[in-house]
């Protein structure tokens, strides 16, 4: 690979990692902080991607929408749409045990993919939506990367603030002991729903950014493996409930994943498919090994100490 190719690949790598980072932070809010088991990341991610794509693309015959709206509108609606979906699912299942939320979110993600595949008039079906505009209508990859990084930094700041705020303390309380939180007068179901909706809205943000960065979306990108499982591996490897760990996990897992893809792509056709399955097997095994050997991840949770903000700074 020549230098220019390497440069473009580096930008692609970082931008994708940034989008995954947003998803990992959003999942960390739900799972790490609150203990909500979302197995349908791909669904919220897809809703965000399609919402923004349908609103911002120029009019097209192949799918609904094409309203040609500016990107910020698309991104905002994407977050709203994902959040609203999460509200509906959450309102039904958030009071139940985490297993049910897991099954329900997995189900909704599969159904969203079914809808995307089958409702040609709306989404263009399996042919997907092409021509999603990058931010500021420029082809410069650096601009895209900058937009993603700014979003990521703002989100990181937000989730860190949320984590050390009283709100975050309630969330940890609910995660560790629901009854005690209830006894302390906290409206457990409402807090859990808040975390679920906010986290899912950020997954929608990730989806919208992905659509604008990739320029093309299709149902294939939102299969459970790429949309959900990888993000779980990133978060668990980095460390649940640790936002910095989630970032390290994202970069690390994404690096290993893309590098192994480069290796297997060198193989001839039929073997490459089989090698793809080997990679999936290995990433599954990786998660199992982490769960068995180091369940708290590379960077375990560090709960904020119960002291004033000035004191806390010294600890850093």
């Amino acid at each position: 690979m020549n230098l220019a190719g390497f440069y473009h690949y580096g930008l692609y790598f970082l931008t994708t990692a940034g989008v995954y980072g947003i998803l990992a932070l959003a999942l960390n809010m739900q799972w790490g902080l609150t203990g909500l088991f979302n197995l349908g990341i791909a669904g919220f991610y897809a809703v965000g991607a399609y919402a923004s794509a349908l609103l911002t693309t120029p009019p097209a015959a192949e799918h609904w929408g094409g309203l040609g709206m500016p990107m910020p509108v698309g991104v905002a609606v994407a977050m709203l749409a994902s959040g609203l979906l999460a509200f509906v699912i959450g309102a039904a299942t958030i009071r139940l045990r985490s297993d049910y939320l897991a099954i329900a979110t997995l189900g909704i993600a599969e159904i969203i993919r079914l809808v995307i595949k089958n409702e040609m008039w709306l989404t263009g079906g399996v042919r997907g939506i092409a021509g999603v505009q990058p931010p500021f209508h420029t082809d410069n990859q650096l601009v895209m990367l900058a937009v993603v990084v700014v979003c990521l930094i703002v989100l990181y700041w937000l989730v860190e603030r949320a984590r050390i705020s009283p709100w975050g303390r309630v969330m940890r309380g609910i995660r560790e002991n629901e009854d005690a939180s209830m006894a302390a007068g906290k409206h457990v179901a409402r807090f859990r729903l808040e975390s679920f909706v906010v986290g899912s809205a950020f997954m929608g943000l990730g989806g919208a950014l992905y659509a604008h960065f990739n320029g093309f979306i299709s149902p294939e990108a939102f299969r459970p493996l790429y949309g959900t499982f990888i993000i779980w591996v990133m978060l668990i490897a980095g460390g649940s409930a640790n936002n910095f760990g989630a970032m390290v996990g994202t970069i690390g897992v994404w690096f290993v994943w893309t590098m192994s893809q480069m290796l297997t792509d060198l193989l001839p056709g039929g073997l490459a498919t089989q090698a793809g399955a080997v990679r999936i097997f290995l990433i599954g095994l990786l998660l199992q090994v982490i769960l068995l050997a180091r369940p708290s991840g590379l960077f375990p949770e560090r709960p904020p100490p119960l002291i004033g903000r000035r004191e806390r700074k010294k600890h850093r």
């Binding site: 079914l114 499982f229 399955a277 199992q288 769960l291 369940p295």
Partner: protein, 287 residues
């Protein structure tokens, strides 16, 4: 135009497959307290193991099913010993993540060993029986017979053996069972054997009914969960009932929805049950 009688027949065939899967999911949920996300892929493994014996040794499917069932049960026990057993002390929800990873690994293994293409147990055209305006394929009859045998075996095991009673006791009331001296580890071992056997049969019957693809089990997982929840978690007989209801509902749905949305119907039923009656029809565990 859809023939309602035909939809009913096909619904019962699908329902009997879902029922077998749901019994295993329900018992694992009841005894080990987690939703086993690898159950569908365990079915896939069972189906492909039987396919191997059909292809290589040219055995008929009922004979090939026997070693496949034994192997799948051993795989289920091995998965528990390698992954789940060590995580049990932590938290049930960690088991859930682990089973999700296991699901992916099993599916990848099937792809690695048998390839991504479709397979069928028997090539060639079989002549369907026409009766009462119904089209009954020989394969669908085999599915019904296989499922009937398995349900009978399950009933005899749960109602008349000591181990079966212990399993029901543990999923009914864990504390009471523990005080009464139920041998926990042996019950867990037999739960996996039991679930593995049922998963393999369900997978083979699913393969007979349609065809073998690496995602066949994963695609059936959601209706199976729906059946287990509908029947009441931890209630094997409820799971059977739930399986038939979900199977029938999925088939009837083509009367008013595109057939691609069969899965969505199972999902909607599940969500409604979770809202209205989370303990299921046969009052299962209140989780």
């Amino acid at each position: 135009m859809h023939n309602v009688l035909q939809l009913t027949y096909d619904g019962i065939v699908l329902g009997s497959i879902l029922a077998l899967g749901a019994i295993g999911v329900s018992m694992i949920f009841g005894i080990l307290r987690f939703a086993h996300f690898a159950h569908g892929d365990l079915m896939t493994v069972g189906a492909y193991l039987a396919y191997t014996f059909v292809r290589w040794l040219h055995w008929p499917i009922w004979l090939a099913a026997l070693p496949a069932i034994v192997l799948a049960a051993l795989i289920a026990v091995a998965l528990d010993q390698i992954f789940y057993r060590r995580l049990r002390r932590v938290a049930p929800v960690i088991l859930l993540i682990s089973s999700f990873a296991t699901a992916l690994m099993l599916r990848a293994l099937v792809q690695i060993i048998w390839g991504p293409d479709n397979h069928v147990y028997e090539q060639g055209i079989s002549i369907p029986i026409r009766a009462f305006g119904l089209i009954i394929t020989p394969d669908s009859l085999k599915v019904l017979i296989g499922a009937a045998i398995m349900v009978t075996v399950v009933h005899l095991f749960l109602a008349h053996t000591k181990m079966g009673k212990s399993m029901r006791a543990m999923s009914d009331n864990m504390d009471l069972a523990l005080i009464s001296g139920v041998p926990v580890n042996r019950v867990i071992f037999w739960t996996w054997m039991f679930a593995g056997v049922l998963a393999a049969v369900a997978g083979i019957l699913l393969g007979l009914n349609t065809r073998l693809i690496p995602t066949m089990g994963w695609d059936t997982l959601l209706p199976i969960f729906a059946a287990a929840i509908l029947g009441g978690v931890g209630r094997p007989y409820g799971a059977i009932l739930g399986g038939f209801i979900i199977g029938l509902a999925m088939n009837y749905s083509v009367l008013f929805l595109p057939s691609a949305y069969k899965l969505a119907v199972a999902f909607v039923i599940m969500i409604v049950v979770l809202i209205v009656r989370p303990q299921g029809i046969l009052k299962g565990l209140s989780l």
